[in-house]
């Protein structure tokens, strides 16, 4: 494609302020009279508040408000930042007389300093009736298990008596027939853990009332519009009285696709009529924010002797924690985005998402796919091995390809019937080819395990996909207006959460208008000043918001050309724009600069050149990814070191390849943690055991393997300039590629994440008892 701005490695439009420490983030303001808000977390996994006395806290000088469930409206809602009507159950309250996990809200205070707020929390006197708790998802549906949501007014819960937040069963073809056709059937169980987002900027919100008494919410959110709607509903004030401002965000990864602090912080601001800030500490972030849904997956696949997959059946048990945020939708994705990777005619997905008295799960990069692909791609590797096939060959034979229609997606939309997915662009074969070459697959598959010594090397791979926006639901609007110097204001509701959306959207506008990137000034994510957008999630921003920007820019370009046509006295059809000017495409060449056009329009024609557009897609084109890992397994210590991770991704056209690579590398790094080190652990009473960076280990610069990033560009007809998406898909394949490489290295299958040294060693000893040191040596 012949483009001048799109496809170029341009600097971030907001980069200058980020490298110079300019005030950019939510907390980078000092409001006069600002109070510090703090939430009293429940010390019990399940309890009823019998009595709560706030009088001592209120009497403390400097304390301006103490709120309990008695002081706030009771409106059942979901905190999931999803399009209305949200598919997640309405099972959450601003404050409640019952607490359902360690960390659940008991009360909230606002005081003149953080120390005073903390002191006030200690002065709140609470009598709890401690209830039996259920922490284990496998026990949650048992008869006699404590019912977590026994309140009468919550809605959209699938089966509250059995703690089932959501249940899914979908099938295409007939899986039972499929298994009858199969020559071999394989079935295995896999388990995944509670992973936390660990965005470097914790959740933070500042609320105040402006001069007109309107509620201002400055907050670290991926979903400003959903947040505005939800806060208005919960506090029972009109939407028009609320403004949500999203400044720069210090990472989201799904954790901020959630209305998390905005409601309670607003309630405190309304109660005190002073600005109030609530900022989670790192510890609070670990268990009072959100995490990835832990799952137990039973994967069954039927194959022909030649390796053709005929039927897949995936059964999932997942826990959403104490509240059902994203319960049905994350798990829906575990089926809809994973199973169709193989062209089997018979697919079935069944899932129960249960409540437990544990921290709440939510959206997290990959949105259910990392769990599903860990199961599917691990099993695929096992099948290929049993059939004597190279896993690369297995994928070549079975993977979805150009022109295919994925019918399962039609059955698993966002909480309702979705739309069938047609594959209009697919770079997966090329991804596999180039990923394999990068890791030297053919040679290493043959030679590596033979190496002597305690440290064994192996290589493994996986293939994965995702979506680009939610078909038929995600939509966005944008608005452009021209300034005297030929620059343009671009207003988008889209939320740049750090992934570079503002830059990519500005590149799309600049390309369409024929101006340089510096001529686009972006305002994003402010509900008073930017048009609607469902928000930054589901890999939607480039394709959906980008689509809206391209449409608006095309309309504005038509206006620019209209004015220029008069100035140059030529028909519009003979004009084009590029390099900040409008010129004739016919001889003789005549041109006017964008600035001249703007001046003419504004002062002669009395015309503000401006326009907006809305955009949505009826399909969600999948980006594809092939992941190749080389590992070194120390059979004495159990340490798994990833030596090299090669990721080849088909993102459609990369609007900014450097940024796209950055998305891949960030995703795989979170994938490495998911595979090898990250798990928020709870003790038997539901208390978090490792809510800090010392005990919850994310990868540092020193821990990283060699990363190879390959962009395999394809042209997606539904995307602006051919773009699909990139930020989620690369996380999906890391864990299975590593697990498969471990098998190649030491012949041991690991089916539970994360694979810490102790887990590796235990599996080694179980599956290869001869490796276990002699008893005598151990006991001496």
């Amino acid at each position: 494609m012949n483009t001048t701005v799109v496809g170029k490695n341009l600097r971030k439009v907001d980069g200058f302020k980020l490298v110079t420490g300019g005030a950019a983030f939510t907390d980078d303001v000092l409001l006069p009279g600002m109070l510090y808000g703090k939430i009293l977390p429940s010390p019990y996994a399940h309890a009823r508040i019998k009595r709560i006395d706030t009088s001592k806290a209120k009497a403390l000088p400097g304390v301006h408000a103490v709120l309990t469930y008695k002081d706030v409206p009771r409106v059942p809602h979901t905190t999931a930042g999803q399009a209305w009507p949200e598919p997640s159950p309405y099972d959450t309250y601003l404050l409640d007389s019952k607490v359902r996990f360690v960390g659940d809200r008991v009360a909230a205070v606002a005081a003149e300093s953080r120390a005073l707020a903390e002191q006030a929390l200690r002065l709140i006197d609470v009598d709890y009736e401690v209830l039996p708790a259920v922490l284990d998802m496998e026990a949650a549906m048992d008869a006699g298990a404590p019912v977590i949501h026994d309140e009468p007014d919550s809605t959209k819960i699938f089966d509250r008596e059995h703690n089932i937040a959501a249940h899914i069963r979908r099938e295409i073809g007939n899986v039972d027939d499929g298994f009858r056709e199969a020559d071999f059937i394989f079935e295995r169980e896999y388990r995944t853990q509670r992973q936390q987002h660990c965005m470097l900027e914790p959740h933070v919100t500042i609320c105040w009332l402006d001069g007109d008494g309107r509620l201002m919410i400055r907050t670290s959110t991926q979903v400003p519009y959903h947040c505005r709607r939800q806060v208005a509903m919960i506090l029972q004030i009109p939407v028009s009285r609320v403004r949500v401002i999203k400044p720069r965000i210090g990472g989201g990864f799904g954790g901020k696709q959630e209305m998390l602090l905005e409601d309670i912080c607003s309630a405190l601001a309304l109660a005190t009529r002073r600005p109030v800030k609530i900022e989670y500490t790192r510890e609070e972030e670990f268990y009072m924010a959100r995490s990835r849904h832990p799952q137990i997956l039973r994967m069954k696949m039927g194959v022909k002797r030649d390796g053709t997959v005929v039927a897949s059946h995936l059964q999932v048990l997942a826990t959403t924690g104490a509240y059902g945020s994203h319960a049905s939708t994350v798990q829906g994705n575990t089926g809809s985005k994973v199973l169709p990777l193989y062209r089997a005619p018979h697919l079935r997905f069944e899932c129960d998402v249960v409540y437990t008295n544990t921290p709440v799960a939510g959206a997290f990069r990959g949105y259910g796919c990392p769990q599903g692909f860990f199961a599917q791609e691990s099993l695929a590797d096992e099948i290929a091995y049993k059939l004597g096939m190279d896993p690369v060959e297995f994928h070549r034979k079975n993977a979805i390809r150009l022109g295919d229609v994925d019918k399962l997606s039609a059955q698993l939309g966002e909480g309702k019937e979705g739309l069938p997915r047609v594959i209009r662009s697919c770079g997966l074969p090329e991804c596999v080819k180039r990923g394999a070459a990068a890791i030297d697959w053919d040679r290493k598959r043959q030679s590596l395990p033979a190496r002597a010594g305690f440290v064994k090397h192996g290589v493994g791979m996986s293939c994965t996909m995702q979506g680009s926006g939610i078909a038929g639901i995600d939509w966005a609007a944008s608005f452009l207006k021209m300034n005297e110097d030929g620059s343009f204001f671009l207003q988008v509701g889209a939320s740049d959460v750090g992934a570079g959306a503002d830059t990519v959207l500005a590149q799309i506008a600049a390309e369409t208008l024929g101006v340089s990137l510096g001529k686009i000034i972006v305002t994003s994510g402010d509900t008073d000043f930017t048009p609607f957008d469902t928000g930054a999630y589901a890999s939607s921003t480039t394709i959906i918001s980008g689509g809206a920007v391209k449409k608006a820019a095309e309309k504005v370009r038509a206006q620019v050309l209209g004015v220029a046509a008069k100035m140059l006295a030529v028909p519009v059809e003979n004009l084009a724009c590029a390099k900040d000017e409008v010129f004739t495409t016919t001889k003789p060449r005549k041109s006017v600069s964008m600035a001249e056009v703007a001046l003419q329009a504004l002062y002669q024609e009395k015309l503000q050149i401006m326009d907006g557009a809305s955009h949505y897609n009826t399909d969600s084109p999948p980006p594809f990814c092939a992941t190749f890992a080389e590992v070194a397994v120390d059979t004495q210590t159990g340490r798994v070191r990833v030596v090299h991770l090669a990721t080849a991704v088909d993102p459609g056209v990369a609007i900014n390849p450097m940024q796209a690579e950055g998305q891949v590398e960030g995703a795989v790094t979170q994938g490495l943690g998911f595979a090898l080190s990250e798990e928020l652990m709870l003790n038997h009473t539901g208390w978090p055991m490792n809510p800090n960076f010392l005990d919850y280990k994310i990868f540092s610069a020193k821990d990283m393997p060699k990363l190879t990033t390959i962009l395999v560009e394809t042209e997606e007809p539904l995307g602006p300039y051919g773009a699909k998406s990139v930020s989620e898909v690369p996380i999906n394949g890391v864990a299975p590629a590593i697990a498969n490489a471990i098998f190649h290295a030491v012949g041991v299958r690991i089916r539970k994440l994360p694979i810490r040294p102790e887990d590796m060693l235990r599996a080694l000893y179980e599956q290869q008892p001869e490796l276990k040191p002699e008893e005598a040596l151990v006991t001496q």
Binding site: L18, G21, D27, C198, E201, G666, S700, T709
Partner: protein
């Protein structure tokens, strides 16, 4: 509340502030408007709050402001000369090493401390120097590349080079 006065030089300007003896350097700097000093964990684990004290990287969440009395502090705000960015800042932008940017000030300052004492580091040394600065966005490849590129680009005063 008991207060005391603190005299420090921040980014070349001398400052006299009233603080409480228990105030953390992180809180004092942010309160005084140095927002480039980020709060990521307050436990010395993430490096987002890194500043240079006498040229050495320090987690400002781990020390009391009173401890730097008379000290010379460099925050990210003091690195560029007006609109002229430091080579590290330029390289971070050119290499796509900034995503959300929340870890960026700490990383750049940690890298500056490294380049000041080791103008031509190996990749290993860069990774070692950045090991205390968590980044959840980039996977570190681009920040490391940026530091190496900045090292190549930086004009090293001869006496330091020798």
């Amino acid at each position: 509340m008991k207060t005391m006065s603190l005299c420090v030089t921040v980014n070349g300007e001398s400052k006299q502030w009233t603080i409480a003896p228990g105030d953390l350097l992180l809180d004092v700097l942010r309160r005084e408007g140095y927002f480039g000093v980020k709060r990521g964990c307050e436990k010395g684990e993430c490096g987002a709050c890194t500043v240079l004290v006498h040229g050495k990287p320090v987690n400002s969440c781990l020390i009391f402001a009173a401890q730097v009395e008379g000290g010379e502090i460099l925050t990210i705000e003091g690195l560029a000369q007006g609109d002229t960015l430091d080579p590290l800042q330029e390289a971070f932008l050119d290499h796509g090493a900034v995503q959300c940017g929340f870890c960026t000030p700490g990383m750049i300052l940690a890298a500056k401390a490294l380049l000041d004492r080791q103008p031509h580091p190996t990749e290993e040394q860069v990774r070692e120097a950045l090991a205390g600065n968590y980044c959840r966005c980039t996977g570190y490849r681009k920040p490391v590349e940026a530091v190496l590129a900045a090292a190549a680009r930086r004009k090293v005063p001869t006496e330091v080079a020798r």
